[in-house]
């Protein structure tokens, strides 16, 4: 256990960035497999839970379970800026994905289209946030 709040926040920040990359990979895999596979209630429910968890991770709520000093450092001005930038990037990617789906005439139903838009937006935000955070941590 790291006692110094600054060192602990730095360690957790890097861990969060790595986790976000893994989460993005898992979420993309889960969505693509779900869209191509059979739509069972369990599979759809699992996707909904996973997507909700990913979305919660992109909010400041996720870092609230640490001591106050560490939470403050994990959500400092730079991190808030990175979060806004990554969510803006997610907005672009989800909008572009939607426009491609609408224009492309892909054989999808509404549920699949919605899942692909959510996947594009959330995974782009996760990757963008993790990249910005790691770049800042590495100076």
């Amino acid at each position: 256990m790291i006692a110094d709040p600054v060192a602990r926040a730095e360690h957790l920040g890097r861990a969060r960035a790595t986790l976000f990359y893994l989460l993005a990979c898992a979420f993309v895999t889960s969505t693509v497999m779900g869209v191509h596979g059979p739509e069972t209630p369990v599979r759809l429910g699992t996707w909904l839970v996973l997507a909700s968890l990913v979305a919660i991770n992109l909010t400041p709520v996720a870092g609230r379970f640490q001591p106050a000093a560490v939470t403050r450092l994990l959500n400092d001005e730079t991190t808030r800026f990175h979060r806004r930038t990554s969510l803006a990037a997610g907005c672009w990617v989800s909008t572009l994905a939607g426009l491609v789906i609408a224009a492309g005439g892909l054989a999808l139903d509404a549920s699949e289209a919605a899942r692909l838009i959510v996947m594009a937006g959330l995974s782009a935000s996760l990757i963008c946030f993790a990249t910005l955070e790691l770049r800042a941590a590495n100076g």
């Binding site: 909904l48 997507a51 909700s52 979305a55 806004r84 930038t85 969510l87 803006a88 997610g90 907005c91 672009w92 989800s94 909008t95 939607g98 426009l99 789906i101 609408a102 224009a103 005439g105 892909l106 999808l108 139903d109 509404a110 549920s111 699949e112 289209a113 919605a114 899942r115 838009i117 959510v118 937006g121 959330l122 935000s125």
Partner: protein, 149 residues
């Protein structure tokens, strides 16, 4: 920058803020009347879809580059200062959560209502862009009022 130029920039900023809100309302209203159940993609439908894509792209262009495009570099710099860039980013964040929230609702609703993929995408993107424009317009107006006070 001279007082005359500052006045022109302020007027343009007010115009942009009002236009953002008005365009959001018009976009949503126009789309609300054109949602149908499963219609085949015939010629009028394809035309309507193309018009929606062009409209959505134009609104995104306005959101990101709107303000002083034809007014010269100095005016562009004044109209797109640090505060406006921050408002733009915040507006896109609101648009993002709007898109994700609407997509979740569409995902759940698709099990109870017959919705096509095209209609689902139109709903998600329309609300996302409209929310972003509304947010941008509100933030800009609030900032301009604060400056004027």
């Amino acid at each position: 920058m001279t007082t005359g130029n500052a006045d022109v920039a302020e007027r343009a900023a007010w115009g942009r803020a009002r236009a953002a809100t008005a365009m959001a309302i018009i976009f949503v209203t126009a789309q609300a009347g054109s949602f149908h159940d499963d219609l085949p993609l015939n010629r009028p439908q394809a035309l309507q879809l193309s018009a929606w894509i062009v409209w959505a792209a134009a609104l995104l262009f306005f959101l990101v580059w709107g303000g002083g495009l034809l007014r010269g570099a100095k005016m562009r710099a004044v109209l797109n200062d640090e505060t406006t860039l921050d408002h733009r980013r915040r507006a896109m964040v609101v648009g993002f959560w709007g898109a994700i929230g609407t997509a979740f609702l569409v995902f759940v609703a698709s099990f109870y209502e017959p919705i096509t993929a095209r209609e689902a995408v139109r709903l998600v993107i329309t609300l996302s862009i409209a929310l972003a424009l509304m947010c941008f317009g509100t933030l800009e107006r609030r900032a301009l009022k604060g400056e004027a006070a």
